[in-house]
């Protein structure tokens, strides 16, 4: 049974851009799946591993079901990527509310989030976001300054003195934001100094007012490195089935469209829109599927992973509801969302990327390093994993074929930053050396399971 929450977003926990708001890390809980789903998922994973061991398949990832997926334009309309600006604004408001409610007394607020939550991208938009007070004040009143984004240096291997001087040169006298702390260090005995110095400044309350975004994997490392440092981080609330439904609805409605109707392909049960009180008043009898609950559990409450699975599960051939008196023009595959339906395959029929079988630990070392640092170039990967060529390239190629990882060219902003800070560096977007390797959202669930089975340190999410 789904109950729709208010879409006004006035209460922080009901903002569809940040469902549940920010909560202390101790209150975070994994969305639960049904017992059958958990058992089927676990058994299915091990059967896939055994099958891969026996048959040694091609290992390239391809979907199993025959229904055509949505085109890029259709996906952009029905399940687009979140708007970083809007997300950043929602975060800004949430942070402001925390400070005004005196829930966060520290001058520097630490935001920890699992990968693919979009927090880092949203924090990068902080300099362009206005706080509630700034929006309320008249422009001529000035008001508080906007956040200033602090970017990491290109060379992260430095000693303590160099790190101290670097932080002294940063503008910490005005509100600042670090979008991703993982970019400020490398898992190398010479790569810790910057973050060590930053944490020293935080402990001594010499860092001014700021917001630090930190990946959960990065947080796992540093919370163990300094077990007595009580930094009381805040985290976005996990995406339960209700929050996920709200979030997916607001994504689809972003372009002014109405809430789409999405039903499962097998039995026609409704997934969207969520069940509301209006349905009961109008005696609309709609049976809802359990898909959102399973989606929340499979994605571990992480919106980016859930969206990737949702995009993969959506199917073409929208059909008209048999109850409606629709005409042929509506049945033209038109996804304006007014009366057309969209379809989604049940998650049990969806084949997600499977980890290639290997007797060595190289896969785990590579994947753990990529999650720890939210993406690495091949040179940095060799530095933090101590895996030499050609083993490193072999591992990367197998993981790439299985769609577990992807290689992304640096953005224009990243290239400019490198060129500005490192005069000798020339960033060629087509150069393999400058590409950044990351774990894919679809590959994240199997990655985490693989790391857990091999004994690697895991995040708390």
């Amino acid at each position: 049974m789904h109950k729709s929450e208010t879409m006004s977003g006035n209460a922080p926990e009901n903002n569809p851009l940040l469902p549940g708001g920010l909560i202390p890390i101790e209150e975070w809980m994994l969305p639960g799946a049904s017992v059958s789903r958990t058992l089927v998922g676990t058994v299915g994973y091990w059967l896939e591993q055994l099958r891969a061991e026996i048959t040694r398949p091609d290992e390239s990832f391809d979907s199993l079901d025959g229904l055509p997926e949505l085109s890029a334009d259709q996906l952009q309309q029905l399940a687009p990527e979140p708007d970083c600006q809007l997300h950043g604004q929602a975060l800004t408001d949430a942070v402001q509310r925390l400070r005004e409610a005196d829930q966060c007394r520290r001058s520097v607020l630490l935001l920890v989030a699992p990968p693919f939550t979009g927090v880092a991208q949203a924090l990068r938009c902080f300099p362009d976001c206005k706080t509630i007070r700034q929006r309320q004040d008249a422009p001529e009143q000035g008001g508080s300054k906007n956040y200033r984004l602090i970017l990491p240096p290109v060379n992260l291997l430095m000693d303590a003195e160099t790190a101290r001087q670097w932080w002294q040169n940063q503008p910490m006298d005005q509100p600042w934001v670090i979008s991703e702390l993982a970019a400020f260090w490398r898992r190398h005995h010479d790569g810790l100094a910057l973050v060590q110095e930053l944490l020293r400044l935080l402990a001594a309350d010499q860092a001014g007012e700021g917001v630090i975004g930190c990946s959960s994997w990065c947080w796992q490392f540093w919370s163990n490195y300094y077990p007595d440092a009580q930094l009381t981080p805040w985290v976005p609330a996990p995406m339960t089935d209700e929050r996920l439904g709200l979030w997916l609805q607001q994504l689809a409605c972003r372009n002014g469209a109405q809430i789409p109707v999405v039903r499962t392909t097998t039995d026609g049960l409704y997934v969207l829109p969520l069940e509301s009180a209006d349905d009961k008043e109008q005696n609309k009898k709609r049976k809802h599927a359990n898909l959102l609950r399973n989606l929340a559990a499979d994605s571990r409450g992480i919106p980016g992973v859930a969206l990737a699975i949702w995009q993969r599960a959506l199917r073409a051939r929208p059909e008209v509801d048999a109850d409606d008196t629709a005409d042929e023009s509506t049945e033209q595959g038109n996804l304006r969302g007014n009366t057309a339906h969209s379809w989604v395959v049940p998650l049990s029929q969806l084949r997600l990327p499977v980890m290639p079988v290997s007797q060595e630990r190289n896969f785990g070392l590579v994947l753990h390093a990529l999650l720890l640092h939210e993406g690495l170039t091949i040179a940095d990967l060799g530095l933090v994993t101590a895996i030499h060529e050609p083993d490193l390239s072999l591992a990367l190629s197998r993981l790439l074929r299985a769609d577990i990882i992807s290689a992304i060219a640096p953005t224009a902003e990243q290239a400019e930053h490198i060129a500005k800070n490192h005069l000798d560096a020339t960033v060629d977007k087509n150069d393999a050396e400058s590409k950044i390797w990351r774990v894919t959202p679809l590959g994240y669930p199997t990655t985490r399971r693989h790391l857990q089975s091999w004994g690697f340190p895991l995040d708390v999410f």
């Binding site: 005995h189 810790l192 490195y225 340190p457």
Partner: protein, 266 residues
């Protein structure tokens, strides 16, 4: 002796029966001798697994020959009456009881091991100076595989008398220690910090387990012991090796030298 019926049993042995038994024993001995000499020669001309299987079959064949000889000889010498058999098996049981005393000891120890679990398959243990992974626990003995891939068979009877050191005790947490023997006159706090970073940033380190650096002073210098846990026990050797290598590199960069050889004072 009379009560056991041995006298009657021995009285029934005739000279013909003795000759028959002697002939059987001689033939069996010749066959045994041939098996011991010929089969290894044949095996030396083969290679690979056939050679190993043939060599392994030699003691088995000898055992089969001996058993068959006993089965054939005993009825020849002794009439298989109830009293005779009782006498013979009684004597046999007494002899076997003394011979298998240690075997029974290990069998009972094996049962105790199932309850107390001083070691399990997958544990890394040290018994009587031999360190290795427990691969299998049989009825009488456990098999240990050393880091040099040598299999050591440890009778369970060792449980009663030996000290058994278990590194991980059924878990996947095995503490590894990398030692650094350094010359004195350096900043010890800095060295401890550096070595802790070396261990903590190792890709195979279990960061949620404690990483400690313990230092002790010796007449010839300082010993630093870096204690950390790898992600799984089988990675211990790579873990220790790389900790030592990276730690040595860091020490060299700091200008801190290793002790060449410990100097034993008089």
């Amino acid at each position: 002796m009379q009560e056991l019926g041995l006298k009657d049993a021995l009285d029934s042995i005739t000279s013909q029966a003795l000759m028959q038994a002697l002939m059987l024993i001689i033939v069996a001995s010749l066959i045994n001798f041939a098996v011991q000499k010929i089969l290894p020669q044949i095996a030396s001309r083969l290679g690979g697994k056939p050679r190993l299987y043939l060599l392994a079959s030699v003691p088995l064949l000898r055992l089969v020959i001996i058993v068959f000889t006993i089965i054939l000889v005993v009825p020849t010498l002794v009439k298989p009456s109830f009293e005779n058999m009782l006498a013979i098996f009684g004597a046999l049981a007494l002899a076997l009881g003394f011979a298998f005393k240690d075997y029974a000891n290990s069998l009972i120890a094996g049962i105790v091991i199932l309850y107390e679990m001083p070691y399990r398959p997958g544990d890394w243990v040290e018994i009587d100076g031999h360190y290795g992974e427990v691969r299998a626990i049989g009825t009488r003995a456990a098999k240990l595989v050393t880091p040099d891939d040598t299999v050591i068979v440890v009778p369970h009877g060792r449980l009663w008398n030996s000290l058994i050191a278990n590194g991980n005790d059924g878990t996947d947490h095995l503490m590894c220690v990398a030692e650094f023997h350094l010359q004195p006159h350096h900043d010890m706090a800095k060295v401890m910090r550096l070595l802790r970073n070396v261990a903590f940033t190792h890709p195979l380190a279990k960061t949620w387990k404690p990483v400690q650096v313990v230092v002790s002073n010796q007449p010839w210098g300082m010993i630093y012991r870096v204690k950390a846990y790898p992600v799984e026990p089988s990675a211990q050797f790579r873990f220790i090796s790389e900790l030592t290598a990276v730690g040595a590199k860091v020490m060299a960069r700091e200008g801190i030298r290793f002790v060449s050889a410990p100097v034993v004072g008089s």
